[in-house]
Structure formats: structure tokens, C-alpha cells
């Protein structure tokens, strides 16, 4: 394939490209809370939590090839850890992030042991069952002393009447968020300031999840994961410890998936099986859909997929009411009694499987190299490690089949 421009990886031009891409992303992240309205900030928080969960799922599904339709359970563990520790025992919400990570990590490792014997669609079946059982487990009578049953938390027994930050003017309540005397958000009782505060928590979680995924994928463990995905037997022969690697990746994926759960609990201020859609199996299917549409097995795939999903479902959210549909496409959607978001993405998912199984990122990799082609550094050359954005421009063999 000929391309218009060829540049070398690590050269001046490739660094310039990376800088432009990084500046664009960082600019977008800073633009949303400062210039956008509360509605868009709230949508952005939703997108950030969804992309964190999808990135976590990508580790186990996109890179290691182990199908999971039960990641909603791990997100739920995160949400309930924050809910229980904050409202029952008065912990600081900040502390619940590492606690949730650890709990979900342990659960993930436990799940991985049967999973290392169960393969392919059977694993999908078991995880689907797990995803369906989890909300039932929350309403279980034997656990309601902890989870608050079907009504959720906080309830009349809890110490605090919120599962997030206890914002208010009373003694012991929080009014400002200060970092060494710097108060970036102002009075947190104002909805705009509160939304910006949550936005930065969600953004922080997304960045941490991204950096961890990136670190793991580019390491020795990451190469073992891809080896397991492509051919388990061959990987074992090459000296990859299957059980240990799967246990680690499952644990890590589960732990990371719990973090956006904490964000959801903080933002909503209460947890219940019905109140948080993403802890039901519908949530797990959404993680899967956005990850595959964006591009399974690529670092930016889940991010792009999640942003697109939240953007489209938000834009079409009112379309059950026919007058909200733009006149041009009204005949196409007016018959439907529910918003078309899920239908659009289901069709898009099936279509992409036919024409571009590597998702949007795969299409981008295929066509961007016709214009700008970054020649990879020769093997063994010394130099700084490639940066994140480079992954978007590197030429990959997109014809190969990876599952």
C-alpha cells in the first residue's frame, strides 16, 4: 500500500504528530468542565465511567481472548464497596477506591480458576450467569444486613445519608475540596461545582485505568496475554504460565472495573440494584458492545467506542417522542416507541463484524496509513519508549484475524 507521506518512528515528524494528538485529547478533557454546561458534564462523566469499564474488559477479552459478559458484577462490587464503607462505616470515599480495587481483584482471581478450565462460549455462559446472579445476590435476605437488600444504601441504619461525599454546611461536613490550600471548585453545594468535582474524579479514574492497561499491554505480561489469545497451546509451550497469567489478568481487569463503580456510587449518592443500570447484565453487554465497536485489543478502542455510545444515546434519548426527531430522518425512527440508541449500536456491531472486525480503530489504522505512514523503528534500536498516541498511527497488518 502506498502512502503519501512516510515518516520514521521516533523522528521529529512523528513526535510532532504525537504532540498534536495529545494536545487535542488534553484540550478536550479540560474544555468540558470549564466551558460546557452541567448537562454535558454529566454526560461526560457517564462516558468516562463507561470507557473505564470497557478498558478493563478489554484487558481480559480484547487482549487475552477470555469472553466475559459478567463484568457488570465487578463494577457492582466497586459501587457497593464505596456504598457500604462510606454510608455504614463513615470511611472517606477516597479510601474506598483502593479497597474496592483489592476486593474486586481477589474476586477476579477466584473467578479465574474455574475460568482457566472452561473455554470459549462456555466461559461466556458462566460469566453471563454470574452477571445475572449478582443483582439477585444484592437482594438476598442473608446479605441484606450488609447490602441493604432491594432498597439499597443508604438506609435508616446507616451512619451517613449518602454513599459519596458528605457535602453540606453542618459540622464535619464537606464544603470545599482543597489541595494544599488551593480550592479549585469553590462551594461544592452549587450543582455546577459539584459536577466539575465529580468530572475530575471520573477523569482521574479513566486516566489511571488507561495508564495501567497501557503499562500491562506493553510489558512482558501483555505479550503473554496476546500469546494466550492467539494460541493457548503454543503459548504454554513457549513457557507462558497459563493459570498464573489468566489469574493475574482476571484480577486486574476486575479490580480496574470496580473503580468506575466507585465513581458511580459517589456521583449518584446511593446504591441499589435497580438504581445503577451498569451493574445489571445489560451494563456488561454495553461494555462489550462499545469495546468491540471501538476496537477490541487496542488501547484507544474502548475510549472511542464509549464516547460514541454515550454521545449517540444522549442525542437520541428523547426520540421516543416523535417531535424530538430532526425532520429529515423522522420517518426512519418515528415508528419506534423507545429511543433508537441500542438498536443503532446493535446493528452497527453486527455490520462491523462483517466489514471491520477490528472496530473503528482498525478502520482508522487501515486508512490513515494511506496518508501518513509511520515506519516502525528497526528491531533492537535504542531510544525512548513509544508514546501512547503512536499506537494510533503505527501500521498494523489489519487483514489478520485475531480471535
Amino acid at each position: 500500500m502506498k502512502s503519501l507521506v512516510s515518516i520514521r518512528e521516533g523522528g521529529l515528524a512523528s513526535w510532532a504528530l504525537r504532540l498534536v494528538a495529545a494536545a487535542f485529547v488534553i484540550g478536550l478533557v479540560f474544555w468540558v468542565p470549564t466551558s460546557a454546561g452541567a448537562g454535558l458534564i454529566s454526560t461526560a462523566i457517564e462516558a468516562l465511567t463507561l470507557m473505564s469499564a470497557a478498558m478493563a474488559l478489554n484487558l481480559i477479552l480484547g487482549y487475552t481472548g477470555q469472553i466475559s459478559i459478567g463484568h457488570s458484577a465487578f463494577l457492582g462490587i466497586g459501587a457497593y464497596t464505596t456504598g457500604i464503607f462510606v454510608s455504614r462505616w463513615g470511611f472517606s470515599p477516597w479510601l474506598t477506591f483502593p479497597i474496592a480495587f483489592l476486593i474486586a481483584f481477589v474476586v477476579g482471581v477466584i473467578v479465574s480458576f474455574p475460568a482457566s478450565r472452561i473455554k470459549g462460549v462456555y466461559l461466556a455462559l458462566v460469566t453471563l450467569a454470574l452477571g445475572l446472579v449478582f443483582p439477585q445476590l444484592l437482594t438476598w435476605k442473608k446479605l441484606s444486613w450488609l447490602t441493604g437488600g432491594g432498597a439499597g444504601l443508604p438506609n435508616k441504619d446507616s451512619q451517613l445519608q449518602t454513599t459519596g461525599f458528605n457535602i453540606g454546611r453542618k459540622e464535619g461536613q464537606m464544603l470545599h475540596f482543597e489541595i494544599f490550600g488551593w480550592d479549585p471548585f469553590g462551594d461544592l453545594r452549587r450543582p455546577d461545582n459539584k459536577a466539575a468535582f465529580w468530572y475530575w474524579i471520573a477523569a482521574g479514574v479513566a486516566v489511571i485505568v488507561y495508564l495501567v492497561c497501557r503499562g500491562v499491554v506493553k510489558s512482558r505480561v501483555g505479550r503473554s496475554m496476546v500469546a494466550i489469545r492467539d494460541n493457548e497451546t503454543a503459548a504454554a509451550v513457549m513457557g507462558v504460565n497459563l493459570v498464573k497469567t489468566k489469574a493475574m489478568v482476571f484480577g486486574l481487569s476486575a479490580g480496574l472495573c470496580a473503580l468506575p463503580g466507585c465513581v458511580v456510587a459517589i456521583k449518584i449518592g446511593s446504591v441499589s440494584p435497580e438504581g445503577i443500570t451498569s451493574l445489571t447484565v445489560k451494563g456488561a453487554i454495553t461494555f462489550l458492545i462499545v469495546m468491540v465497536i471501538g476496537g477490541a485489543g487496542s488501547l484507544w478502542g474502548p475510549i472511542i467506542g464509549a464516547a460514541l455510545y454515550v454521545f449517540v444515546t444522549e442525542k437520541t434519548g428523547e426520540w421516543a417522542n416523535d417531535d424530538a426527531i430532526p425532520a429529515l430522518i423522522r420517518p426512519l425512527f418515528a415508528w419506534a416507541k423507545v429511543p433508537p440508541g441500542d438498536g443503532i449500536f446493535a446493528v452497527l456491531l453486527i455490520l462491523l463484524m462483517f466489514v471491520a472486525p477490528r472496530g473503528i480503530v482498525g478502520v482508522w489504522n487501515q486508512y490513515s496509513s494511506r496518508i501518513v505512514r509511520v515506519l516502525p523503528r528497526p528491531a533492537g534500536a535504542v531510544g525512548p519508549a513509544p508514546m501512547a498516541t503512536a499506537a494510533m498511527f503505527t501500521v498494523t497488518d489489519s487483514e489478520g484475524e485475531h480471535e
Binding site: I118, L125, I285
Partner: protein, 308 residues
Amino acid sequence: MALFFQRLVDGMSYGSVYALIALGLVIVYRGTGHLNFAQGEMALFCAYFVYQFGEWRIPVWPAMFLGMGVGFLLGSATEVALVRPISKRSPFAVFIVTIGLFTFLNWLDGAIWGNQQLPNSGVGSKQLSYPSLFPNDPQDQWLPFGVSIRYERVGILVLVLVLTGLLFLLFNKTKFGLSMRAVASNAESAKLAGIRTNRVLMMSWGLAAAIGALGGVVQAGLNGNVNLGLMFTVFIYGSAAATLGGFDSPGGAVIGGLMIGVIENLASGYLPKWVGQEMKLGVAFVVILAVLLVKPSGLFGTAKVERV
């Protein structure tokens, strides 16, 4: 003892629905080796159709056969248009397509019929409750030894057993059944022997969806209404049944379905504190996990020998 007997009959009638979903899963799995995650949603789609036929004053039995016809068309169209072309790529791609179909069908049900439960006088339903295949008024029951045995429950059980018998005849006594078994055991050789494998696979998917459709109608009838979440749990019970019976054994699927129904009903009846209504699904989860870990081929399936 009377209570035990009643729970047994109730469990078997719920198990009949699981058996129907499991039968659909098994027929598809035998033919193409794929697990159809959209099986439950296909059944739900047909169950909505039967509601619609009821609104048009079509009696329930013809409506049921029409619904099964819709299922047959949906299943065979899915095989021809989606599964056959994509299965050349990878099993993972087929899995994703069935998940896509799952989401799409659930959305489509909501788009056409709305997300409230039906029949619903609020949207002008003419029917009072979802059409039931058997008499289900409160007095329609036998009362031997103080046990309440409802006609509906027994009727469903008999219906499933008759259907199983017919399927047995179809698989074992007809030319089509022979070619289905040939395709299941070795598709390449079957093709060389002159069997139109494509047509057999299309018919298998259609048959599976039609049987599932019956399951959907029966489940909606037992439930009294049809709603968007009706088949999520039923699908899991059905897959638990198929796992327990063995994914390549139709007889196993029926026995597995009845067993799952009985197990969950007895467990929730006798352990109200530990299982109750909330953790019935937990029973199915434990069964799936235990069978896959201990005996992955199930009770009646053939163990697959894999060369590493």
C-alpha cells in the same frame, strides 16, 4: 408429602419451558457448534407476536402455530444472512453477532410494543391476560389428596413430552433427521455424500427458533403477561439445562430442563431463607459451574476428545 408432590409438578411445568429453550440451543449446537445467545430473545419476539395475534382475535392455538412460523422464519433467516457468512471468520465473530442480535431483538420488541408489560389496558389491549394454551382459571385444577394440580401445568408438561416424541421421530426415522445427524457428526463428509448441508443448517436454526418460540409462548402464558425482561433468566435456566443434559443431546436437554425446574423449585421451597425467590438463579449458576468443572460433556452428551 402433598406439598412435595405439588412442588414437583410445579417444578416440572417450569422445567418444561427450560427444556424447550435448551432443545433450541442443542439443535443449533449440534448443527453448527455455536451457542445461540439470541435464543431467548428470538423466543420473546415470537411471544410478542402471539400477543399481537391475540389482539387480532386469532384463537390461541392457531396463534401459537403462527408464532412458531415466525420463529422458523427468523431462525432460518438468521442462519442464512448472519451466521453462515460470519462463521468463516471465527467462533468469536459468531458470538459477537449473536450478542448483537440479542440486543437488537430486545430493542425491536420495545420499539414495536413499548416497554410496558402486555396485555395492558393502558395501551388499549383487548385481552385481559396473555393467551394461555390450557384452561387457567382459578378453579381449573384437580385436588387429589389436598394437592392442587393445575390443568395448565399438566398440559404444558404433556405438550413438551409430545413434542420431544415428535422430535425423536424426526431425528431417528426421517431422511431429514438422518441428514441432520450426518451434518452434526461430520459436515464435510456429509457434503461429499450429497447432503445439502446448507439447507440442513438453515432448517436446524429454523426448527430451533420455532421450538424456542413455543417456550416463549408457554412462559408468557405462565407469567400472565409478556415484558422485555421475560427471557433473560429463562435463557440462563435453559442453558443450565443444556449444560446439564449435554450440549449435543436433545433427550438430555429435556431431562436437564425438567431437572433444573424441579431442583430450583424444591430448593426455593424447602430452603426459603437460603434460596427463596431471590437466589433461584443462583441454583442455575451453581449447576452450570459444577457441570462444566466436573463433567463438561454433561449427563448425556458425548465427551469430546481433543488432540492437543
